[in-house]
Symmetry: D2
Subunit: 295 residues, 4 copies
C-alpha cells in the first residue's frame, strides 16, 4: 500500500506518486476500479454475487433448540439457502435479553445438520471470533459495529465469509473504507449489507436506502445483500421492500422469519410468519427471471 | 367534518364524538380507512391507480419549442403516456434560469397536439393556477410547496388532476394531511408522489424513500407515483431506482429525459438520454407482468 | 447582476466575467464579502444587529383581544421590544385552527398602541402582503415558506422589515440564496432566523442548530435572530437554548409566551408562562454584559 | 434490578411490579429520578459536575513527545485542568495514521508529570482497557463505540472515570441506556459528552446538538461535557459553540488545541491554536460568573 498517506479524520484521500486522488481509486481493495469483475463467494450452497439470488432467513434471536430447528426447516422448504439467528444480541439496554450465547451456537449447528442451510450469526467482540467461527458459516457484523475496528481486523484475520452491515448513519464511502479493514487483513470474503439508515421518518423504523444498492454495485465488486426487515421495521412493508431490493440489483436478501412473531423475544414487529415468507419466496421466483436472475 | 378539533401545531389528532382518535382515521378524505378501494384517476390516456403503469417523462425545464417537441415524440414512441416539463421553475437562487413561463406552456400544448401525451407542469403560486390550468392536463405541486397552503387550496378549487410531491423532509403523516387541503376543497384527483428525502447521504442527491411507497398504499387510497430522477439525482442510478419503485408497488413513474443532458439548463446530471429511457421502458415491460401489472 | 448564469437546480454558482465563482461571493447581496459591516435595522424601538439584544415575545396564535393585550403588557414589562402573534397560522392539518385573520391583526395593532411594542406577524401568501403590511411592523416568513418564491418576491417589493425563518431542512446556503429573492427586489431589511432543523432526535421537537448562528454571522452581514421555542419544542429547555443562542452571537430572540400555556390553541408545549419569561429576561440581563452586549 | 424485562430491540421499557413504565424511571442508574442530586466526580484536579467548569484541551492525536509536552504546558497555563490526546485513533480508513499507541501513552504520562493535568485518552477495544488504564486518568469512549457493548462492560469493570461520547446518530435515550452498561458493572464515574450529530448540514462537520445539554441535565444526574470541536468541525466556530455549551449548562468542555494546526496529523481543521485557546478561556472566565459558575 505504498504511497498511501493520512490526511485527517473523516477523510480518506490517498496519494499515489505524489498526487492526491479520490477515495475509491484502484488502491482500495473493495473498489470496482481495482477489480472490474463481480466477486462471487462460494458459500450458502452456491455462489453469492452471481446470477442466483440467495435468501438468508430466520429469527432475530435463537430462542430455543426447538424454535430454531422448526424455523430452519420451514425456511429451507420455502427456498432459503442460509439461516440467520442471533446467539449474541446487541441490545440497546443492558437489562434486555442478550442471547443464549454458546448454547445457541450449538442449536444453530444442529439446525444446519438437519437442513443443510449455511449458518449466519453475529459476532460482537474480538475475543469471541474464534468461538463463533467454530460454529458459523458466515460471521455477521452488525450496524453498531461497522466502525469497531478491532473487531473488523479480527474478522479479517479469520478468513471466514462475512456479512457486513452498514452503520445506520454511515455514508457509502465510510462503509467501503470500513470493509477495507477486513480486506486488508487478507479476507476477501465480504458481503456488503444495506439495512436502512436513520432519518426523520416516523412510519418505519429505518429508511431503507434503496439507492445504496446500485451505488455499491457501481463502486464495488463485492456482493450486496439487502435487509428489508430492518430496512422497514414493520412486517407489512417487508415484502414490498424485498421485491424492490431485488429489482434494484441486490444479490441476496436477509429476512427475519419467526414461527410466532407476536411472542418473539426481539424484533417480532418486523418478522414474517413462515407462511408469509413462503409467499414472498413465490413472488421472488416470479420476479427473478424478469431481472435476469434466478432463485 | 363535524367533530374535528384543533390540537396544536404539528399534530393532527381529530376528535369524533368526544374521543381523540389517530390522524389517519376515516374522517380523513385521503385515508384508506375512509375509502377501501383504490382510487383511479382518468387521465394520461387511461386510468392511473389501476393495473396499468403510467410513465410521465420529459425534461426538467421546457427550454425551447424544438426541444420539447423532439423529446415528446421520443418518449411517446418509447411508451410514455405523460409529458413533464417546467414552464415555471422553482430555483434555489434568484439568479438562475426561472423558466420560459407562458411561452413554454404554449410549446407544451403544441407537444400534446402532436403526440397525444398528457401535459404535467408545475404551478408555483396561487395567482397562476388559472393560467397553468388552461394549458396543462395535470398540475404539478413541487416539494418546496408541499405546505404552501394557499396554493394547495387554490389547486383544490380548480378540480384539475394534481401530481403532488412530498416535501424533502416531511413525514407521510404531514404529506397526507397536506393532500387533505386539496381534497377538502372538493378536488379528489390527487396523485401522491415520492421524490426522495433529505438525509446525510453523499453519493446521491436525495435518499429515495422506497418504504414510503408501500406505506402510502397502505394508508391511502390515492395513486402513488415515484420520481427516481430526483430520488437519486444521478442518471446512472435512475434505472435501478425506477425498477425498485415499480416492484414496491408504485402506480407510475416520473422520469427526467433530455435530448442532450450535458447541455440541459437544469437537472442534466439526473436526466436520461432518450436511448436510455427507451431501454428503461423495455426493462419495465419485462418486469410489470411479474408484478401483476402491465405497461 | 450581469454575468450570472444558471447551472442547474440545487446549485447556485454564479459567473462573473467568465469565471465560475462560489455561492457566497461579493455578487450576493446578503454576503459579508459584499458588505463587511454588520447591517442594523431600525425597528423594534431601536437598532437590530447592533450591541443591543432584542427580544420578540408573545403567543403562537392571537386567540382573542384580551389574550394578546394581556400578554403584550406582560412581555413589555419584562423588557421585550417586539410582540409576536399569529393572525394567519400555517397548520399541518386543514382541520386545525387557522387563526383569526384580519380581526387578529386589529387586536395586534391595539396591543401596539397600548405598549409601544413592534408587531411581528406571519404572512403566508402573496395576495395578503398588503393587508398584513398595513398592520404589522415586521413581516414574518415561516419555515414552510422559506422557498415560496412568489411570496418572497412580494415581501421584497413591500420594503417592510422581514423576520425570515430558515426552513426545517434547508442548508445555510439555501437560506441565504432564498433571502436573496427578497433583497434582489430592493428590500434590504431582512433578519435571518434560526428556528431548529429536522433530524432523528426524539426528545425535542427540532434540533436547534446553534452552529448556524456563527455560520450566518460569518457568511452574512444581516442580523441573526434565534427562536429557541421552536428550536426545542418544550418549554423546559427554552431558557437554556435562549442563553446558548445569545452566547453564540445571536442579535435577538423570538420567544413564545402565553398567559395560560396549558390552554393555548397551539404550541402550548413550548410556551413560557409570563413568570418564566420574566425570569429568562433576568438571566439574559446578567449574561449580556459578559458578551459585550446589552439588553 | 428486579422486575426489569426485555421488550424487544430498540426499546427499553422496563416493568416494575407488572406495569410497563417509561425508559428513564428510577430503576435506571443514570436517571435523575433515581438520584436527584447532581453527581460530582473527583478528578481533573477537582469536582466535575459542581459549580466549577472544567476544560480538557489538547490535540486530536499525540504526535510526538515534544508536541504533547508543549501543548500541555500551554493549555495548563491558559487554565485547562485536563489534557486530551489520542494514542489509539479510530480512523475511517485503515490506511490513515492510527496513533503511536503505548509510546504515546508514555508521553502523555510525562506531560502529566510536568503539568499536573489529568490525562484523558481513548480506549478502543476491550483488550486494551488495562494498558490504557495504567496511564490515563480518564478513559475516553468514542462516538463510534457508543454501542460497543463489550468495551462498555470492560470499562465498567475498570472503575476508571469515563468520558463517554454520544454516537453521531444516537438518541438521548440510547445514550443513557448505553451508559447503563458501564454503570451496571459498578462504575459510577461517567461523564456524558455531547459531540455533535450527523444531519444534512453542509457548513459544519456535525450539528452540535445544544438541546442535548439541558435534556441530559434534566434526565440524568451525571456530569455533562461538551465537545464543540467535533460539534462544529471548523475552528472558526468553536469559540461560539463553546460559549453556547456553557450557557446551556454544560459542566465542562473538551477542546482540540494544536501548536501548529495546519500541520496536524488529524483534525487540524477544527483545532484552535494555543493563542485562540487562551482567548477562549478569557471569554469563559467572563461568562462563567453570569451563569453562577466559576472557571
Amino acid at each position: 500500500m505504498e504511497g498511501v498517506v493520512s490526511v485527517g479524520e473523516g477523510d480518506a484521500l490517498v496519494s499515489q506518486g505524489g498526487g492526491v486522488v479520490g477515495w475509491s481509486q484502484e488502491c482500495l481493495l473493495s473498489s470496482r476500479e481495482n477489480h472490474r469483475e463481480d466477486t462471487c463467494l462460494s458459500l450458502l450452497g452456491g455462489e453469492v454475487g452471481g446470477s442466483r439470488l440467495h435468501v438468508i432467513a430466520g429469527p432475530c434471536a435463537v430462542e430455543s433448540r426447538e424454535q430454531i430447528v422448526e424455523i430452519a426447516q420451514a425456511v429451507k422448504e420455502a427456498g432459503a439457502t442460509g439461516l440467520r439467528g442471533g446467539a449474541y444480541k446487541p441490545r440497546t439496554s443492558p437489562y434486555c435479553f442478550q442471547g443464549h450465547h454458546e448454547e445457541a451456537l450449538k442449536w444453530l449447528a444442529e439446525a444446519r445438520d438437519r437442513t443443510g442451510l449455511a449458518i449466519v450469526t453475529e459476532v460482537m467482540e474480538p475475543g469471541l471470533v474464534p468461538l463463533v467461527s467454530a460454529y458459523a458459516d458466515v460471521l455477521q457484523l452488525g450496524s453498531r459495529n461497522m466502525q469497531n475496528f478491532a473487531l473488523l481486523r479480527e474478522v479479517g484475520k479469520s478468513k471466514k465469509p462475512v456479512l457486513f452491515k452498514r452503520g445506520m448513519s454511515n455514508t457509502v464511502k465510510e462503509f467501503m473504507l470500513a470493509a477495507e479493514y477486513i480486506l486488508a487483513e487478507g479476507n476477501p470474503n465480504v458481503m456488503l449489507c444495506e439495512r436502512g439508515i436513520r432519518t426523520f421518518t416516523e412510519e418505519t423504523r429505518n429508511t431503507f436506502d434503496i439507492n445504496a444498492i446500485p451505488v455499491l454495485k457501481h463502486r464495488s465488486h463485492l456482493p450486496v445483500i439487502a435487509d428489508p426487515s430492518h430496512g422497514t421495521g414493520k412486517w407489512e412493508y417487508v415484502e414490498a421492500a424485498a421485491r424492490a431490493a431485488v429489482a434494484a440489483g441486490a444479490d441476496g436478501l436477509l429476512i427475519e422469519v419467526h414461527n410466532d412473531p407476536t411472542r418473539a423475544m426481539s424484533d417480532g414487529r418486523q418478522s414474517l410468519t413462515v407462511e408469509r415468507f413462503a409467499s414472498l419466496m413465490e413472488q421472488l421466483r416470479r420476479l427473478a427471471p424478469a431481472l435476469g436472475r434466478e432463485l
